[in-house]
Structure formats: C-alpha cells, structure tokens
C-alpha cells in the first residue's frame, strides 16, 4: 500500500508560562494509506488535536517530518498555502466557530469548489444534498442553522475542495449526543465516496469503532497502539488500551458499572 501521509518522529511542544515546555506530541510516527479511515482516539490532553493541527500545517514541529503525497508539510505562516497541501482539509470541533457568520452557505461552499482540481466534480446543490441539507440552504447564513447542520455545511465545504485527506478534529464532540454517530458516518461515507482518506480524531471510542478501519490509540503524546479496529477491540495489546476499552459500558442489561 502506498502511503498518502507519512509522519516520521514528529515532536511538537508548547511554551507554558512559568513551566517547562509542554510536549504535546512526542516522537510520533504514523502512516496513512489512500482510501483509508483511521480513527485516532485518546483522552483529553493526550495530544491528538495538536497532531491533527500539525498535519494541516497549523503547528510548527520541534523535530521530525510530515510528508503528504511526497510533499513536505510546512507550517502555514504568512504565506498562501502550497497548492499541493490544499488536498488536506480539516473539519473543526466547534461548528459555531468554523463558518464565517457574514457569508452565505453557498459562497462558503464555493470557496471549496474553487480549489477543486476537478471543477465539474460537484455543484453546491449536489453537495448540500450529500450532507442531507435542503438546496435552499445555499442562500442562507450560518446563524440560521443548528450545530449539527453547520457541521454538515463545514463537511460539505471541505469535501467541495476534493481533498485526498480529510482530517476531523473532534468533529462530533460539540454536537447533540444522538446526532454524533450520524454525522461521523456521513464523514466516512463522503470521504470514501470521493476517494479520500479520513483521519478521524475523537475521544468517543464507540463512534470510532463504527466508522474507522484502523485505530491508533494515543496517550501522553505517544501512539501506544495501532491496528485494525476490530482486532484492537477484541484483543487489545497494551495495558492503556485495555483500560480504555474496559471503561466502555456494555449493553448487556446486567447493570454492571464499568472500570
């Protein structure tokens, strides 16, 4: 399998006032193939969001390298993003912050279409239909939509650009609980349908279980285990993974409290 994304010993740290530098991502090596859905799970503060931002060029690396389809990922500073790197797109956690409040939904999705190498791949109504929204949405503004609908719009915008890699940074964490799985499923389906890979970052193991092919478990800045999602679930190798999985309550009707 040719790898689409290659992380080699990536280290990212932050300056914290009055304390030693906080190492958020510590020596992470990871590869992701084409048309693959990788779930990255871990508890809050484990560095998974920092890793996602680094992959999109939003964080500088202390050391190591990230290569996307042969192109090194550089930090997005005060320059326009490298055209090749436009093939990595991100869906953010907070759907209330990720859409420009003063532009119509249609215009924002068109921003995505403009950078799609295949100009005829999508139309706005097409995309809206694919994220289960009414075509009339295009002339409306973000504040007229619910959180779940906004996240669908953000997904449509990312997909519009025809990415090869879609990164979801806790894209369902801010959504109404019972919508989470549906939106996650939508991301998987759209990514695969357009031939993209999906890196899905979440603290919700149950959702990752359902939508991912592979899973990587992250703890304290390191990836502790990676493998086929069903294998990891049925036979976790690392103590941390075992502990994490055993904390998920089972649907057996026995009233056994986990952990």
């Amino acid at each position: 399998m040719t790898s689409l994304l290659e992380l080699d010993s990536v280290k990212v740290s932050y300056r914290v006032a009055g304390k030693p530098r906080l190492v958020a991502v510590d020596d992470v090596s990871l590869s992701l193939g084409t048309r693959q859905v990788l779930g990255l799970v871990g508890e809050s503060g484990c560095g998974k969001s920092t890793l996602a931002r680094a992959i999109c060029g939003l964080e500088g690396l202390d050391s190591g390298s990230i290569t996307f389809d042969g192109t090194p990922v550089t930090r997005l500073g005060m320059r326009t993003r490298d055209r090749k790197l436009l093939r990595i797109q991100m869906v953010f956690q907070n759907p209330y912050a990720s859409l420009n409040p003063r532009r119509t939904i249609g215009k924002q999705i068109e921003d995505g279409l403009k950078v799609n190498p295949d100009r005829s791949a999508w139309t706005v109504p097409d995309l809206l239909a694919h994220v289960e929204l009414d075509a009339s949405a295009r002339t409306r503004f973000p504040h007229q939509f619910s959180g779940g609908q906004r996240q669908r719009i953000a997904i449509a915008r990312a997909i519009a650009s025809g990415p090869d890699l879609l990164v979801g940074d806790e894209p369902i964490a801010s959504l109404d609980a019972s919508l989470q799985a549906r939106v996650a499923g939508l991301m998987r389906n759209l990514a695969l349908e357009t031939g993209a890979s999906l890196l899905f970052i979440s603290h919700d193991l149950s959702v990752v279980r359902v939508i991912a092919d592979d899973v990587a478990v992250m703890s304290r800045g390191k990836i502790v285990e990676r493998g086929d999602v069903n294998e990891v679930w049925s036979n976790p190798q690392q103590p941390y993974t075992q502990q994490l999985l055993s904390a998920i309550p089972k649907v057996d009707g026995l009233g056994i409290l986990p952990g």
Binding site: A177, R209, W233, L244, K250, G253, I256, L257
Partner: protein, 286 residues
C-alpha cells in the same frame, strides 16, 4: 386542560408523570412534541429515558423542571409531593427547582459561572433559601464535594471552574445540584462530553448518590451502554411517545417493541455500545 388524577400516588420523594403532552404552535400547525407521556420516577431508583435526537426525551426532562419553551402548550400532570407541578405558580416552581428537583447537564462549563469561585457558587443558592450562615454553608459545600469525591474539597472551594478538568467539573456540577438535598435529580446526558474512563467514575457516583441519598434520578441518554450500566428501569421514547418501559434486563435482552429491538440489534455483537448507529436512524423496524 383536564386534570387527570393520578391513579396511584407517587412514592414518597419520587415523581410521577401522567399523560404529559406538549405542543408548540396552535391549531393545525401545532407541532406535537410530547404525545402523552406517563412515567414514574420512584425514589431510590434510576429511571432511564432513552431515544434518538428529536424523540422528545430532553423536552420531557425540561418540562419536569418547568423549563419548556415559553410558547409551548402543556397538558397532563407532573405530580410531586402531592402537587401538580404544571399548576404551580412560577414563584413556587422556582423555589422547588433547585431545592427539591435539581439538574445536571451534558456540559458542566455552561452550568457554572466562570468568574465565581466554586465555594460561592455552591453556597449562594443554599444561603438564599435557608438563611444559613456563610460558614455553615461552606462547611456543607465541603462535605458535599467530599461526597462527590472531588480531591481536596477545602481547596476546591477557593478555585474557579477553569482550574478543573472536565470530569472534576462534572462532579462539581453534581455537587451543586445536590447542595440543597433534592429528592429528584434530572441528569441529561451527564457523561456524553467525558472521556470513557472519566465517565465510568461519574456513573459510579450517580449510582452511589441514588443508593445513599434515596434520590429519584431521571437519566436521559442516547447511550445504551450507559443505560445498561446505570438505569434500573428503561423507558424508550420515539416521536414523543414512550414505546416501551420495563426492567433494564428485560428491555435490553428481550425488547418487546420492534423499535427498541432495532436499536439494540444495530449494536456490534460483542456488546460494546456505539451511539445510535446510522442503520436505525430512520427508525423503521424490520
């Protein structure tokens, strides 16, 4: 509105919902959100209310608290302590809410004031309602924080919400809910925003509070795993109606309603719980 007398009075301290209806709008355009809910929430038990987005489960919890939208038309009876909450004047309901009926939500940050210390947030309401001295109230707060297992309770009183992790903050929110010794606790998706290992701790805590304090807990969640671990009885809602209500084991292992069966059949077979998967989102049982 016709008042339907409760056929059996609610157990002491518990809450009884009879034929609760709620609609928004009037006439033909009225949207019927709740279509006649009847549910007992007895003391010392955790009553689970499951269902997908839009089934009306959250609205049921909000209506019990008197927090339904202002333009909603409500019918039926919510009986608590011999009174129908739906007929209480707002002022009395306000006193009741927080004192006798408390709530815990999905996001603890939204229910705590970011600029006030935990100590003053926990004691304000209590002092207002009981006239307790500041010192007594702080002592009570310390005891309650200890009860919900916040580490270093005395120190925690002086801290602010941003100094706690999500799980600790949910414990603080629970402490705030039980400060006035309520008899009913409405918990709406109390662990959904938390990491699984932290969730396990909160589930344990809710069970202990129910057993030790004899609380009547209404647990609203879409997560059947949480339901199976924590609820004593489970009611399943769909489109504003309760389609099934029964003992936890029975509902999970031998569901009577086709919709419940579809929900459970959609789970992976080793018993771990995905959240309301796509395949059942249309809700049609085969």
């Amino acid at each position: 509105m016709s008042v339907i007398p409760a056929s059996q009075p609610a157990a002491s301290g518990g809450l009884s919902i009879r034929d609760l209806t709620l609609s928004i709008g009037r006439g033909d355009k009225a949207k019927r959100i709740l279509r006649g809910i009847s549910l007992d929430i007895p003391a010392g038990q955790i009553t689970g209310l499951a269902g997908e987005s839009g089934s009306g489960k959250t609205m049921t919890g909000m209506t019990v608290l008197g927090l339904q939208p202002a333009q909603a038309t409500v019918g039926g009876v919510i009986e608590f302590d011999g009174r129908n909450l739906l007929e209480l004047p707002t002022k009395k309901l306000n006193t009741l809410r927080g004192n006798d009926i408390a709530m815990v939500f999905q996001d603890p940050t939204s229910s705590l004031h970011p600029m006030l210390s935990i100590g003053s947030q926990l004691t304000d309401h209590l002092r207002q309602h009981t006239g307790m001295s500041k010192r007594e109230a702080l002592e009570r707060a310390r005891v309650v924080l200890e009860q919900v297992k916040v580490p270093d309770p005395a120190g925690a009183l002086k801290k602010y919400p941003h100094q706690f992790s999500g799980g600790q903050l949910q414990r603080v929110a629970i402490a705030s809910a039980i400060m006035c010794s309520p008899s009913v606790l409405i918990a709406d998706e109390p662990t959904t925003a938390l990491d699984v290992t932290v969730q396990a701790g909160i589930l344990r805590l809710l069970r202990e509070l129910c057993d030790d304090l004899g609380l009547a807990i209404l647990l609203v969640t879409h997560d059947l795993g949480v339901m199976s671990a924590l609820a004593d009885t489970i009611a399943v809602m769909r489109e504003g109606e309760i389609v099934e209500h029964g003992d936890r084991f029975q509902v999970i292992t031998a569901p009577r309603d086709p919709y419940t069966k579809a929900l459970i059949d959609a789970l992976p077979h080793d018993g771990s719980a995905p959240t309301a998967p796509d395949s059942t989102s249309t809700g049609d049982a085969s």
